[in-house]
């Protein structure tokens, strides 16, 4: 048994690295892109706000799996562009998650007290000084819990990329199970997902603690 595990572990770890890479790329690009989308939605120029709202509507309203398949065929067939499975998966995940993050940010911004805007205005701060100096830092604190939740969901969503032939941990374990007729690979994959989830939960909880340092003390 130990010998079997030792034999399949290298392949599984390789798959795990691909999963983690997809996870990281998605977060690095979708977290800031979500902010751009959110600000776009709040734009005073109607057409811009409409475009971004439509974008969020489409990407939140359709299955991630469908979006993956769409881009998987869209680029080579309709655009004549060859893209690796990893690039296609990254692009789809970034676009999809940015839409979700945008909505989380929007809720966060709306939750900031009107008095904060009034105080900023009465001090003569400009719109952008108010947004970047006063509103967004507070929003960051408010949106951290829902963003954390999405981050945990993303860990597991990366498995969907195996459906467009990305050799992530999901696909590797699936192959091994089919080949060997043993569920051990699935168990190890599950354990790796859990370790990663645990690791991220610890980091996110720390972040939340750090950013709650200015919260009201209950008397």
């Amino acid at each position: 048994m130990a010998e079997y595990i030792g034999m399949i572990i290298p392949a599984l770890m390789q798959g795990a690295v691909v999963s983690v890479e997809l996870f990281c790329v998605t977060l690095i690009f979708s977290l800031p892109l979500g902010l751009v989308v959110c600000l776009g939605e709040n734009s005073r120029i109607r057409i811009i706000s409409l475009i971004f709202k439509a974008y969020v509507f489409v990407f939140r309203g359709t299955p991630l799996m469908l979006q993956l398949f769409f881009f998987y065929f869209f680029f080579p067939i309709n655009m004549g562009i060859r893209m690796t499975a990893f690039a296609t998966a990254s692009l789809t995940f970034v676009l999809n998650y940015a839409a979700y993050f945008a909505e989380i940010y929007r809720g966060g911004i709306n939750s900031i007290d009107r008095g904060q805007y009034e105080a900023a205005k009465s001090l003569g701060l400009s719109r952008s000084q108010t947004l970047f100096g006063i509103i967004l830092p507070q929003t960051f604190r408010v949106v951290l819990p829902p963003v954390s939740n999405e981050v945990i969901v993303l860990i597991k969503d990366t498995a969907l990329a195996s459906s467009i032939a990305l050799v992530d941990i999901m696909r590797v374990s699936q192959k091994i199970v089919n080949r060997d007729g043993s569920l051990v690979a699935y168990v190890i994959a599950a354990a790796l997902y859990l370790v990663f989830t645990f690791f991220m939960t610890v980091i996110l909880t720390r972040l939340e603690k750090r950013f709650s340092r200015y919260d009201e003390q209950s008397a």
Binding site: Q129, Y214, Q217
Partner: protein, 253 residues
């Protein structure tokens, strides 16, 4: 010369008239208290001074500069950029403090002078510390507002307003959200400001403060100024029945 001159101010919310033809002038160094029942338009009038509300009629002049007036039956304001400069001449203290919770007390005070006026950070911090000392909270410089009591928050908010070195300080019911036993510390700070000839307009329910500290008391009722004058006159010899009723209801409460 009057620092603030408001003429025939009209402000409506939807079909509702909040302020209806109010004229008010404030001299340099003067402390004006605005009193009156809830919904009489006191706060709205105050918020028109620093453009938190836009007037629907009348004109406002601050330090000789007219920034809102009527033209062909419509109210016009100076361009946004000019307004920003003019409203920075006013400091505002809110009922609910509205301190920035993600900044320490000192950062709350220095943020606007550095960003808006381009004051060097070191100098802004020096002034900020002087102001914190003035309101008796120098030891709280690195505390976040969430750790302070209501009275302390309001004193920091006053220091924040003063940091912009405004021509006129506006107070919108500064003690209404505070426990009765801590209103005193805020009123004390305001009293000292008044004695140092800071120009102040204070919307308040603190009759003691209006009577003892202010130079002029304005009584508002249903969007109009019902009576105004010397505090002694207003409190000891009210003329209008509405003011008499109001005073007796406040005293008995």
């Amino acid at each position: 010369m009057a620092i603030l001159e408001m003429k025939n101010i009209v402000k409506n919310f939807g079909g509702l008239s909040a302020v209806n033809g109010v004229s008010l002038s404030v001299e340099k160094g003067e402390t004006v208290a605005i009193i009156g029942p809830s919904g009489s338009g006191k706060s709205t009038l105050l918020r028109c001074i620093n453009c938190l509300e836009r007037i629907d009629g009348g004109e406002i002049t601050l330090r000789g500069e007219r920034f809102a007036w009527e033209e062909n039956g419509r109210t016009v304001y100076l361009p946004e950029k000019e307004l920003k400069r003019i409203s920075a001449e006013t400091g505002m203290v809110f009922q609910h403090f509205n301190l920035f919770p993600h900044m320490t007390c000192l950062e709350n005070i220095t943020y606007a002078p550095v960003k808006v006026k381009g004051v060097p950070k070191a100098q802004a911090e020096k002034t900020g510390m002087e102001l914190l000392e003035k309101v008796g909270l120098a030891d709280k410089r690195d505390q976040y507002p969430g750790r302070l009591s209501g009275g302390q928050k309001q004193r920091v908010a006053i220091a924040r307003g003063l940091a912009m070195n405004p021509e006129i300080m506006l107070f919108d019911e500064p003690t209404s959200a505070l426990d009765p036993e801590i209103t005193g510390e805020v009123l004390q700070v305001m009293k000292e400001l008044s004695q140092a000839d800071t120009t102040m307009v204070v919307v308040t329910h603190e009759m003691g403060f209006a009577k003892e500290v202010s130079d002029k008391v304005v009584f508002m009722n249903s969007g109009k100024i019902e009576e105004q004058g010397d505090p002694l006159e207003i409190f000891n010899a009210p003329k209008s029945t509405r003011l008499k009723e109001f005073l007796s209801s406040v005293v008995s409460a």
